[in-house]
Amino acid sequence: MKKLFFIIIISLIYVSCEKIIPFEGDITIPKLVINSIFESDSSFKVHVSSSRSVIDTASFKNINDAVVSIKNENGNIIETLSHSQNGFYVGQKKPVENQIYTLEVDHLNYTNISASDSLPIPISINYLDTITVIEPNNENRLQINLNFTDPANSQNFYLVETYVVRASLTTINQDTLEYELDTIKQRMILTDVVFQNNGFKSRDEQGLFTDLLFNGQNKTLEIKIPPLKKDYVFNENGKINSEKTLSLTLYLHNISKSYYYYRTSLELYVDASRNPFAQPVQVFSNINNGFGIFAGAQISYFVL
């Protein structure tokens, strides 16, 4: 692909020229932007910022003085969130499943926004086992088989991710100079047919899928993990650096439909921005009069 693009660009570059032209579109009025995912084990947490016109020279602004409230299905305010820092607003109450929550954000200088979503029900995990498999190229891979029951009579959306925790230690004469824990997203090998969602192919960093092929049934999800980054010890002039993997954690989210659309479109958007031939992507948003996402997710995780 890059070769092709290179050849085309080389062919055109002899004659192409660039000039700055006036932007003749409407200068858009900044809108409120919401980043908020709520889940059963945490209280509501909402980040509020503002959008800008694409030709605006200012940087994105966190909004620290908005009125952020959460309403229940009856339209009653159940909580008004307090500003914490950098545009984050946090509450005390935890959402419960199958309740529709409405977020409302009021601000004097912006059009008020609202968004509604609910928390999906928890995932019923039946079992999880791991085996080590040897691939044809003699590579050892960890294979995770995760069996869960998909709720019947409803459309469900899932997200699977894995993370590793790496510890790095620097010592001199057994004195610790530095100790750091770093959480890094772990690549997966997603070959299960569920990851081919109607033409959208989930990336190896995250697996997004629906229950289209197993609605109401038990599903065994097969995920392979490529060899983890090797542990090492390195001695440099008496300073010993070591790094090792402490844990691997698998996260399985039962996510709302809005969150699924948002994540798939965002993933496509990032891919398309690197591909000059790709169709432009409109990122999904469920925020009325604004941008971003307010959505629910149930999380199950397993430390392996």
Binding site: I7, I20, I21, N35, V54, G199, F200, V283, F291
Partner: protein, 809 residues
């Protein structure tokens, strides 16, 4: 049943009422100097007021009452001939007309059929003489670029030869070269078309009111006929231009019986660039170390070849064999050799991007009798596109004890797509009487589609691995039948009615379309007429394209079990008028709907070879409506036309733009094309082209915001409240939501001819984009030196002068 029989009898009754006391004059019409057939020439009996026109092979048949006849034979630009006799029996007469342009500067009026007299609408014939006198991009005359100047036809991006007719896509044009479909008519990423103007005899564009004989595409037919070769004398012509040269030779193999024509063209940018690359190479090598060497070569070229043999077996039988082949190739090769310690490392890479067409047709004309003419054609058409990359590297020990290779690695990558057709068709022309011209026929096309297959191969030492993935091959039969009658109902009313039926067998699926066609002309007076037309069109092929600039990466794919075929309905009404037998005016309005269009999904592109193409597309619909005005002057010292189009074109896909209707990329509110040529004297003529078009609709994100990356829930490990990882999203409120600046350009050319002992030479001077307008090619938000965003417009071609030396003998 009885009703059906009665209806059939009533329908065909007029065909038989002339069966008594008539004679039929039939034969061919050709050019006296060359023997080249004249298509669409008029054969008219001045006594009875009956007439006909020659068909696509120069054949005519005119049935008249037994009486004295005064036949006027005419063709625009040719001397009119009148034949007088008293005829009692059927007779075959072949007419030959003399080309006035060979020895006269001023083209006199000829009694051809004027626009208001023709029953067909939305149809334009283009003379190659006009094309050759108009300014041309880099001096290369191009029939497709000339077609772009006509109303209802819109260009794609700057410089490209792709066309968009009445809101349709580039795949919806049936481009026929001697009756064979051409799938990719572009050279050099679309800046030139594959048609060598020296090899073309005639071109016809139909964009609505389609006669039933045409089928398989929704929006237009571009019917290009190659020359047949001079039956009388050997001739040649050619040209030397800035980027390409071409030559064409034609003549009799057996005089008046067998003729040939061959034409070839090649660009030479790659050859011209070679000395510069070599000099640069020497310079680089001299700076390198003693034991290292490096070489790079690369370039781009295209070539094409046309050949045709025409053999007259006898007065009733003729055979034609025509062939086209052309290819574009861009390549880059590199070779490196260097030492690391005691190892000699060699690394060789070759990469290639190429595409091309091969087209062949074998035609057999058989005049069964003086009223029935049959043409049988066997056809072959193939288009393929290839991206290939290969790398070989090896490490050899320089140690005197061991000089064998230590490591040999190779990697190869190839992406291939192609479409291949084998087809046969039989077309019958039946001319029962002067008021009817009946055409019917049957055809079958066997398609093979390879829509994007990727092959990756590794060789590490002696271990080979090969992977194949991508779209599945598809095989399909497309069978079609048609019947039409060009019927002169009375003095004022004339029409063309027909049915085209086509059926498509692909996998276990079968699709069929019954496509009625009708066009009517009603003469208001002897200078003007009212016209209307209706066409239903079906198309079993789709073109997957997302670049918008007509790249060869576009994939031809068939309707499948999952993807339905396209179909359209179009109505058009028009008014035509001829002023003083010199200037023709046509005003048409049209409304067209298109269904089952396909478009790549958001974020998808041809390069994602792991998914089958069927998983990467959405299905939707489109509509287009507008007004087209054409004012044309065909005769006199100054000729040319002014075309104006006012149109609206939209698309609607349930899964694109949140289901909302959005403007098509080439939705162009105003489109103007002016093409004028003027003969100063017999030596000098000039041409001027001016085009204007509303800017293309493109998709730009007009608002930006921060979106948190992936995990943003509090208890997930990489969620950092004080410093969250974010992606900047440019929000697209609607597909094709921004208009590029308008496109306009002026081209000028001057042709100076001179008679030589050996023939004639012409020096053509041209300027493309004479006022060096920076027309938009694409737009992008960039940042200036302060990091502030700005809208940048990238343009391709400023003022480009050209000079071409042409000759003919």
């Amino acid at each position: 049943m009885n009703n059906k029989f009665l209806s059939t009898l009533i329908l065909f009754f007029p065909l038989f009422i002339f069966s008594q006391k008539t004679i039929t004059i039939s034969g061919y019409l050709d050019e006296s100097e060359t023997g080249e057939k004249l298509l669409g020439g008029t054969i008219y009996d001045l006594n009875s007021g009956k007439g006909t026109v020659t068909n696509d092979y120069g054949f005519y048949s005119l049935t008249l009452p037994i009486d004295s006849v005064r036949i006027r034979v005419s063709y625009i630009g040719f001397t009119t001939q009148v034949f007088e006799d008293y005829l009692e029996n059927d007779i075959q007469i072949n007419f030959s007309l003399k080309n006035q342009m060979l020895n006269e500067v001023e083209i006199l009026s000829s009694k051809e059929e004027f626009i208001h007299q023709k029953s067909e609408m939305s149809s334009i014939d283009l003379s190659m003489d006009k094309v050759k006198n108009l300014p041309a991009f880099f001096g290369e005359n191009d029939i497709m670029k000339t077609i772009q100047l006509l109303p209802g036809v819109q260009t794609g991006s700057e410089g490209t030869s792709g066309i968009y007719v009445r809101g349709g896509g580039p795949d919806q044009n049936l481009i026929l070269l001697d009756g064979v479909p051409v799938y990719n008519a572009s050279h050099l990423f679309g800046f030139f078309s594959v048609f060598n103007s020296d090899a073309i005899n005639s071109t016809k564009l139909v964009k609505g009111g389609f006669p039933a004989r045409y089928g398989g595409r929704l929006s237009s037919v571009i019917d290009i006929k190659m020359k047949e070769g001079n039956m009388k004398k050997f001739h040649g012509q050619g040209s030397i231009g800035l980027i390409a040269s071409k030559i064409s030779l034609e003549g009799p193999i057996i005089k008046d019986k067998t003729s040939f024509i061959i034409s070839a063209r090649r660009t030479y940018l790659d050859i011209l660039a070679k000395p510069f690359i070599a000099a640069n190479q020497r310079n680089q090598t001299s700076k390198g170390s003693e034991n290292s060497s490096s070489s790079t070569s690369g370039g781009y070229y295209f070539y094409d070849f046309n050949g045709k043999i025409n053999h007259k077996i006898n007065e009733k039988h003729r055979l034609y064999l025509s062939n086209y082949m052309g290819r574009d190739k861009a390549y880059l090769n590199s070779s490196d050799r260097y030492n690391i310690d005691s190892l000699l490392v060699t690394d060789n890479s070759q990469s290639e991007l190429s595409w091309g067409n091969i087209i062949s047709a074998l035609r057999w004309n058989y005049m069964i009798n003086n009223k029935v003419f049959i043409n049988t054609t066997l056809r072959y058409s193939k288009y393929d596109f290839l991206i290939a990359f290969e790398n070989n590297s090896s490490e050899t020990s320089l140690n005197s004890n061991n000089t064998s290779s230590i490591n040999n690695n190779s990697l190869s990558y190839a992406y291939l797509s192609n479409i291949e057709d084998w087809s046969a068709k039989v077309d019958v022309d039946w001319m029962p009487n002067p008021d009817h011209l009946v055409k019917f026929g049957v055809g079958d096309i066997y398609h093979t589609f390879i829509p994007g297959v990727t092959t990756i191969g590794f060789e590490i030492d002696d271990s080979n691995t090969s992977l194949n993935y991508g779209g599945k091959n598809h095989y399909a039969h497309e069978v079609s039948f048609y019947g039409e009658d060009d019927w002169k109902v009375n003095k004022n009313l004339k029409g063309n009615a027909g049915i085209h039926f086509s059926t498509f067998f692909v996998g276990s699926k079968n699709y069929s379309f019954l496509q009625p066609r009708l066009s009517l002309r009603y003469l208001i007076n002897d200078k003007s007429s009212f016209k209307m037309g209706y066409s239903k069109m079906g198309q079993f092929l789709h073109l997957l394209t997302n670049s918008g600039i007509g790249l060869p990466t576009d994939l031809w794919v068939p309707a499948t079990e999952k993807i339905k075929p396209q179909f359209s309905d179009q109505i058009a009404i028009g008014y035509a008028r001829t002023f003083k037998d010199k200037i023709e005016l046509s005003l048409e309005g049209y409304y067209k709907t298109m269904n089952n269009l396909i478009e790549y999904k958001d974020g998808a592109s041809f390069g994602d070879a792991q998914n089958d193409w069927q998983e990467k597309v959405y299905i939707g619909k489109g509509s287009s409506y507008g007004l087209e005005l054409l004012i044309e002057k065909k005769i006199g010292k100054t000729t040319g036309w002014i075309g104006y189009t006012l149109s609206w074109t939209n698309r609607q896909f349930d899964s694109i733009n949140f289901g909302n209707t959005y403007p098509y990329r080439y939705d162009r509110r105003h489109d103007i094309g002016i093409a004028i040529t003027h003969e100063f004297n017999e030596r000098i003529n000039c041409g001027i082209v001016w085009v204007y078009g509303t800017g293309n609709a493109v998709t730009l994100g007009l608002e930006s915001y921060s979106s948190f990356n992936s995990s943003m829930v509090g208890n997930l490990p990489n969620f950092n409240l004080s410093n969250p990882s974010v992606t900047t999203v440019d929000h697209i409120n609607s597909r094709n939501n921004y208009r590029m600046p308008a496109y306009h350009r002026l081209d000028v050319s001057v042709n100076i001819k001179k008679e030589m002992k050996w023939g004639e030479r012409t020096l053509s001077f041209g300027v493309y984009n004479a006022y060096s307008r920076q027309n938009p090619f694409y737009l992008e938000f960039t940042r200036n030196e302060n990091g502030d965003p700005q809208l940048s417009q990238f343009s391709l071609f400023p003022l480009i002068p050209s000079i071409t030396y042409s000759f003919k003998f």
